[in-house]
Symmetry: C2
Subunit: 432 residues, 2 copies
């Protein structure tokens, strides 16, 4: 077997050559003197035709009874064949069985989600999970390309932090030597320091919320990108968010159309995602909910059913701005026109998906921020460094955070975010 | 002030135009009727010449006494001037002081490291820290470009994990609802599952080690990239590591030369970083240490002084392979030629920097791995999913991990890794 090792996705460049594919058995149909071995190698699946006599009898017989997911190397000539799945086929001249698998627990038929989640390490091998996680990788690549090409400096915020950013009830505690630390819920406070140093920055990493929610939208560990810009206002980041979301969606349409096809995604809905996005103040949203007869209480934050209703009513992401100050984080700047409203925005993805972005203009006034810390009963000492950003060179600034898994779920049309991260973490789920 | 807002790094495209820079005062020299305001905006520093009469007297006087790091917007015509730092100068026609800073604690002169670390959120604004963190961002970009362009799928491993990978003594404990979890020390076990699904994958995120080391090489939180490849051997990943390190270094030379100049880095040493890299077995390294008269005990892992000595003796990264099995992790495959040696490699960066990569071929045999878990007294139940990877489609596979901050430190010629991450975490350091 001295043939060149190639990957299935590169077969198109090797038509007529004899090559070796190193992979796993995905499926096998036998017709007596001829077997159709479907071999996957992580980049695709290729139908490999094995005729009796092409290999020794023992190997031919072994292939006939090989369990799914057994590892094998197959060598053969590459033929273009429009009827073959993927468009190419191998006419095998050699097969090496690397390891015979035990009977594979995940059959090609349907399984319950609990079972699949317990076997996430194997479930990853299925076509649909492949497609979702390739889209996720593309979303992450698009995020970095967007900011890197616009002069933002990638500046990672720490995970281990001494203070809470969004409130203390949803924090994970860590034993930090003789001390206590928390897992970061958001890198925002740190990227604010970064924006004062570099002008435009973003952090992009895992984020943690000890939320006792068991909804389809919640993970305890998820990835978030957080751009932050000095000398920017709420309007600036609303415009940026619009451009950013468009970039991500169009990039996935451009590069991952095959994966979206596997997922049977209605891509016509994604084609529509272009500026301008509809914008609505919180007060307008509240009125809309009342008009629809939804039991929404004025002054409250929007709940999941509210977001779902608003999001289903639009075919583009909906930007809701200026929520009541009291339901939002301490660092948001109140609207100078109306102090009980914050200069903030939530972006709700359409089709009932809900919030994928939360952002705001930050309070840059030292005295106002000090008052806010007190009102929110936050430990002043832990925030001294953050107050320094207002002591030394305060400027208007703003930013937002976008959740990767919710965005991926929206683009893929996946109902639950648990499929949108390789190894999901939820309230009762930390294995494997 | 309706002039266009541009960034200092883009001034070259606006010569002759009147533009606005939004930034902070870096330094101010006054010569009576003329002031030279050095304004930084995160992308660079521009000398801005303010003549008496160009603005009203009150503004002129205010500028004269403006503390460092006050925020201001300056408008003026862009002039090319070879004598000006950066090559361009502004002739100001308007100045808006956004916020006068309190007296800035970090003067342009030298400070002690403890003080600078306490003020990391401000220290980030200094030229040297800027240069280092821009190189770090470039290293991260290069890492992703390298793997993305070679068909690897980015597949994030979880941070919250139920089991130890490298040993339990250096784990951070997390309260996970009613349960216990650990912060991941390595995503390797997870990327192995990924490699069986996608062929070639990498994870890239923060990693945690509760090490009580207070050396210049240790952080408790650092970023690591971990590629993993199905059907790969130790030789394959040694070759890949060589190509990978070369790519990162040459990319930084290509794109961040100005930053390396700020850091006064001897780039001639980096130019040499091209394949082939020297390779040495552990036994050869042990002999080398003995010959040098170093007090190295055969059979032990290499210590910091050993790594430093070996690393200083080479002008390229040194690849040391086949360490004793007993000093290495449970998942490494023993050398079939000699069972007491593991198929592993550590790559030591030159100039005394030490280890930047650790990698190995993994044990793919189920029975051998089960024995290894027992020998290492690891909790079998937590590893059942990992054993599944050997039950269903075991193949030879290999990978490595590269630490971002050590690599950045090497490229920058920075003595201590604490300057190579925006907000370093160390044994007694979690603020800001």
């Amino acid at each position: 077997m001295d043939a060149k090792h190639v990957y299935v996705e590169d077969l198109k460049n090797h038509v007529g050559e004899t090559v070796t594919i190193k992979g796993w058995l995905y499926n096998n149909r036998s017709k007596g003197k001829i077997q159709f071995l479907q071999v996957r190698d992580g980049t695709g699946i290729v139908q490999s035709v094995l005729g009796k006599g092409a290999v020794d009898d023992a190997t031919f017989a072994a292939c006939d009874h090989l369990p799914q997911e057994s590892s094998l190397m197959v060598t053969g000539a590459v033929r273009q064949d429009a009827r073959a799945p993927g468009g190419y086929e191998l006419s095998l001249t050699a097969v090496t069985i690397v390891a015979q698998a035990q009977p594979y627990p995940i059959a090609l038929q349907e399984h319950g989600v609990a079972f699949l989640m317990e076997n996430r390490h194997l479930w990853l091998r299925s076509r649909k999970q492949h497609a979702i996680l390739r889209v996720r990788a593309e979303v992450m690549r698009a995020i970095r390309d967007f900011f890197d090409s616009r002069g933002f400096v990638a500046l990672d915020s720490p995970i281990l932090t001494p203070a809470a950013c969004e409130g203390t009830t949803t924090l994970f505690n860590v034993d930090y030597f003789e001390d206590k630390a928390f897992l970061s819920q958001s890198g925002q406070l740190y990227v604010e320091a970064g924006a004062m140093a570099f002008g435009k920055v973003y952090c992009f990493g895992p984020t943690f919320r000890a939320e006792k929610s068991k909804t389809r939208r919640h993970l305890t560990e998820f990835w978030m990108v957080e751009p932050e810009i000095a000398y920017a206002t709420l309007d600036d980041v609303m415009n940026l968010a619009e451009e950013f979301i468009t970039f991500i969606v169009q990039r996935c349409l451009e590069r991952r159309r095959e994966d979206l096809k596997v997922l049977e995604r209605n891509t016509a809905l994604l084609e529509k995602i272009r500026p301008p996005f509809p914008r609505m103040s919180y007060d307008e949203a509240a009125k809309w909910l009342h008009d629809k007869g939804l039991p929404f209480e004025d002054g409250n934050d929007l709940g999941s059913p509210d977001e779902t209703a608003l999001s289903q009513a639009h075919d583009k992401p909906l930007m809701i701005h200026r929520y009541p100050t009291k339901v939002k984080a301490f660092y948001m700047k109140p609207d100078p026109q109306r102090a009980d409203r914050a200069l903030c925005v939530d972006v709700l993805a359409p089709e009932g998906v809900g919030e994928i972005i939360g952002g705001s203009q930050r309070e840059e006034d030292l005295a106002a921020l000090e008052r806010r810390l007190e009102e929110h009963k936050l430990p002043r000492a832990a925030f001294e460094w953050y107050l320094d950003l207002r002591r030394y060179g305060a400027v208007p600034h703003a930013g937002f955070g976008l959740g990767v898994e919710r965005t991926t779920g929206w683009i893929c049309g996946t109902e639950h975010v648990r499929e949108c991260i390789p190894f999901p973490r939820m309230m009762y789920k930390i294995y494997p």
